[in-house]
Amino acid sequence: MQALSFEQAPPPSVPIRFFLTAPLFLLLAGLLLLVDGEAVMASRWTPAALALTHLMTAGFMLQVMLGALFQLMPVAAGANLWRPRVLALPVHLLSAIGAVMLVAAFHHQIAWAYQLAVVAIGCSVLAFVPAGMLALWRTPGTSHSLIALRIALLAFFFTVFAGATMALARAGLIDTWWLRFSSSHVALGLAGWGCVLVAAVGYLVVPMFQLTPAYPRWFARSFAPLMALAIGLGMVVSHPTAWLPLIGLVALFAGVTLDRQQRRRRAKLDATFRFWRFAMGCVLLACVGAVLMIFNIGGNTLPFAVGVLAILGGFVSVISGMLYKIVPFILWLYLQPRVRGVPPMTRMLNEHWVLWHWRVHVVMIGAALLATVWWPAVYLAGSLMVVSAALLGGQLLRVVSRARTALRLAQPS
């Protein structure tokens, strides 16, 4: 297994500012479902549906993914970012403000909000991506995580580039010809940026926090480069079947992860394990749905169900499960040399509430899937999403507050 180096870790405030912002976007997504549920479920292209999708992707997911990169690049790959504390402030503020602007632009169809969103997210990317590229390309080595991180970061840049052109086309500033890149935007964002980053993180944290065997070498070595090739194929060949290899690879990742989990060395199941196993099941179902979509089977409701399974079932589950491990762990490691009698990591969270979050999350996804065929269920899904966001945010705040208290008590008065 690859070695980690926590001496290179940035101050905990760097990743945690992103992690604490993320649940707010999930909360907003739940509220949007409650306020505008009928419009969201009318079509995946309605302003409300696009606003909802981007609250989860450009809001919730992006915040956590940026925070994870700030932490993981130096720790897992030895790639030290230039002044992470200085860099994190503008990247965090601009990405969060940009996501809010983008959602407002989609929801109310405001041209200036699209422009502001492009400027804010664009500046955030232009601050982060070159610094990240420089750090990752200057780092010697060919570790699987390093290669996956490079590919994920490139995919992130092109996701935002494709998204920005479509936003500007919607604002009427450039030709609507650019709107044809929506499939590429989705593939780059969810598969190239999202799934490859989850894999880069998973190679390290699944064996470590779930006590599973390591991912097979043949898989870890080839997964990210093959994903890049499969995305390229889908973008170049203008036939829906060209996306099949990409869908197959995503399903393979889910299958290999489930196989690792089956071979775990510990019988007790914790919330992170449950979130990840549930996520991989959802991803497999999403892949089956995506294949049916390609062959025009399943009608208009199937794309919705695939979106629910991939984004809510896959990414939101994986991220929730991981946050419950890495936020306490980062703070515990920070406290360890500074505080005598650091509280045990397991007591920084309330396991009881974390388990309740998992239950609410599973029912919420069931309600969201039901809403694809019977739209009034969207209100149940929205209510449960609000509860989910409150439980996640509440637990993360609890961990931070306990760490602060321990640090304060340790300092001489």
Binding site: S5, M208, D270, Q336, P337
Partner: protein, 79 residues
């Protein structure tokens, strides 16, 4: 000549982070002069290595055929 004390064994093969580190730190507190701590763990615990280096401990890492690492820790000054 005195007999060496047997090592304090920390079996962390089924423990989740950071429990292996917590147990190892407890064992280091109990360790007598000249004694060693033997940690059995299924990965190389980087945060623990950082902490050991910074606190005057020496360690050796022996990979086992079953994928477990045996990490033997002693006071650096005793070397």
């Amino acid at each position: 000549m005195t007999d060496r004390l047997p090592p304090i064994v920390v079996d962390a093969r089924r423990l989740l982070p950071p429990e292996p580190m917590e147990r190892t730190l407890e064992a280091l507190d109990e360790m007598q002069p000249g004694q060693e701590v033997l940690l059995m763990i299924p990965r190389q615990p980087a945060p623990l290595f950082d902490m050991l280096r910074n606190n005057g401990y020496a360690y050796t890492v022996e990979p086992q055929p079953d994928g477990v690492f045996h990490i033997t820790i002693r006071q650096a000054s005793g070397d």
